[in-house]
Symmetry: none
Subunit: 206 residues, 4 copies
């Protein structure tokens, strides 16, 4: 009850770091495959080839594991999104090329465990801590888009750049989602093209 502080182990030795890594990796895998609620700590520990005690040594509970995976995931995605070279992009005088680059980049970002990405939405709703985290991240992503559109301002015909950013982000995100999870009769290439068309025509007078 009045417990001796935070109880979670911070691994100092290499062995401990590996164990924690194992659990995180396995957690990501299982959450992605079966969803948060249908995955339990025992399953994760077993699949990670680790005793259940170790699970609770490194993570206060299942939720905390999820949150750590979440943070890591966001960092990876951010890193990936930031790889885009704005200097280069801004030099493109063809708007469609810009959009294409962006879309391509987001798709690449989502290649990092797209299944997990889907879980995030679920968790967001069931836990305020997760919600806060995700919202923060989303805000950051949005800011990024806003900034980009701003730099391209004179070529863009949309007035409300904030709103445009929201719409564009959403469209890209969801198309990726469709490509990854819904297997529509429509093929990936086609879909991507239409998306790029839609956004380009929306932003630029071509």
């Amino acid at each position: 009850m009045e417990n001796s502080m935070s109880r979670v182990r911070i691994p100092k030795q290499k062995r401990g770091q590996e164990t924690k890594r194992q659990i995180i990796e396995t957690g990501l895998k299982l959450f992605s495959e079966k969803g948060y609620y249908r995955t339990n700590s025992k399953d994760i520990a077993e699949a990670a080839d680790v005793a259940i005690g170790s699970f609770y040594a490194y993570f206060r509970d299942k939720k905390m594991l999820f949150i750590e995976i979440l943070q890591e995931h966001f960092e990876l995605i951010s890193a990936c999104l930031n790889k885009i070279n704005f200097e280069d992009v801004m030099k493109m005088d063809n708007g469609r090329e810009l959009i294409s680059a962006i879309v391509e980049n987001v798709i690449k970002a989502h290649e990092i465990s797209p299944e997990f990405h889907r879980e995030i939405d679920i968790a967001k709703n069931s836990d305020p801590d997760v919600d806060r985290l995700v919202s923060e991240y989303e805000k950051k992503i949005l800011q990024n888009t806003v900034k980009m559109l701003h730099q391209y301002k004179e070529k863009i015909r949309v007035k409300d750049i904030e709103a445009a950013a929201v719409i564009v982000n959403m469209a890209v995100e969801e198309t990726v989602h469709i490509i990854k999870f819904t297997k529509p009769n429509v093929n990936e290439m086609q879909l991507k093209n239409e998306l790029i068309d839609m956004i380009s025509r929306y932003l630029f007078t071509i």
Copy 2:
């Protein structure tokens, strides 16, 4: 699992029908509020002011309740979406007006428990039965859009109508989702306008 003569009761008397209705209504409410996994049958029964025994008299299990609610939900949405008078719409020679009408209609459709709609995505992933159901429904909705775009074909500049339908549907759906759940700094009107702009410019050479 699904033995032919399953124990579910089909209510014939008015009392039974009311009991079942109560459970469905309450289930919808609680699933929407707290999510499928965080809502338990006892809570539903209690909130519906019904004995837990009655719950299991009318529904094989929790999942079956969800599925029944799902079906009802789809029927309601479909009914709502179909209210749009295509004859009228087709007469509009302004494309933007068409899109506007459609968007407005989808928003209206989503006014029917938007929270529950969100739950659907989650459930889809965790259960194949639900997945099948939802996919079928989504296909129907998509067909609808395809049909509509077809009728407007000569005015549309997009070649691949199937893909366009997917994109358009997605964009509308998700914007509604954003409006209902994410409270962005951008206001609803603005967002709706941008959406309509985007789709119009995408489909029509204005």
Copy 3:
């Protein structure tokens, strides 16, 4: 988390009352035999011939069971202690007889699960809720003694009646404890006599 209120079942049907009784009775038995910390809910449920689920239907947790048993125990003891007929006792002009009657009465009271009584002390220390409860009860018992001594005031040579009550109560309590648990070489009768002697000589000039 934000749970539907108090969760504990209040048995309305006879069956439920019996189940709850069973658990209480078995809990008392096991706590007495093995001590609070060495008794677990599963053991209690099993010994009570009841599913573990039923245990948690009627008691929030092990502690709550303990507290309910505690309260019941106090009520029984109180009832027993109150059976002493003060009218009669006060008529005794022999002080030793008075003390004897009181001691006899306390012993009788402790015949009600003396083992459990011992557990109380333990629990008192490990839980503030229990502590509060026990302290209240002890205060009541003390008041009773104070009242009694007051009524006998003119025959008593002790000035500080409050302190005397504390001392007397303690002596009686502990002697009973010794008789029940420590098996000294000294026999019960002897011990009781010495106790009565000690208290009589303390209170009265014989």
Copy 4:
């Protein structure tokens, strides 16, 4: 369980002795503060600033630590109790003075971690090894009192000296206990006086 060549380390170097001492000290502190069952080995090791491995190097298990502390505690108390100079005491021809000296001495003895003393009773019940140990110690203390009363025999009016010793010991012990743990409305001085009065009047015809 207790295999001959048990794995416990007997510290020979100064460092080892210090480590063991640390653990004993910290164990005493934590057992006293939170009770045996609510104190766990990891907490002790941590608070003692020692690795959990060291704990189990010096003590077979948690119980063994408790027992070692117990033994040490008894030795300290005994040493303290024996400091009383019987030659001197026996010269007192005032019985009250004798009792006063004894009580004072016991109180001093209990100043040595009174909290731990309370834990002893608990442990006694839950473990036969502890029970044996404590009983032996109690017997020794009792013998001491018996011896003392014997030496004062001609001045004492009680016949059964054994029984008297039990009663007297109990009364002193428990009063100390009350003084240390129950904070009654009655003050310490008062209580001590009443205790001395009670015992004196019991033993001597004053």
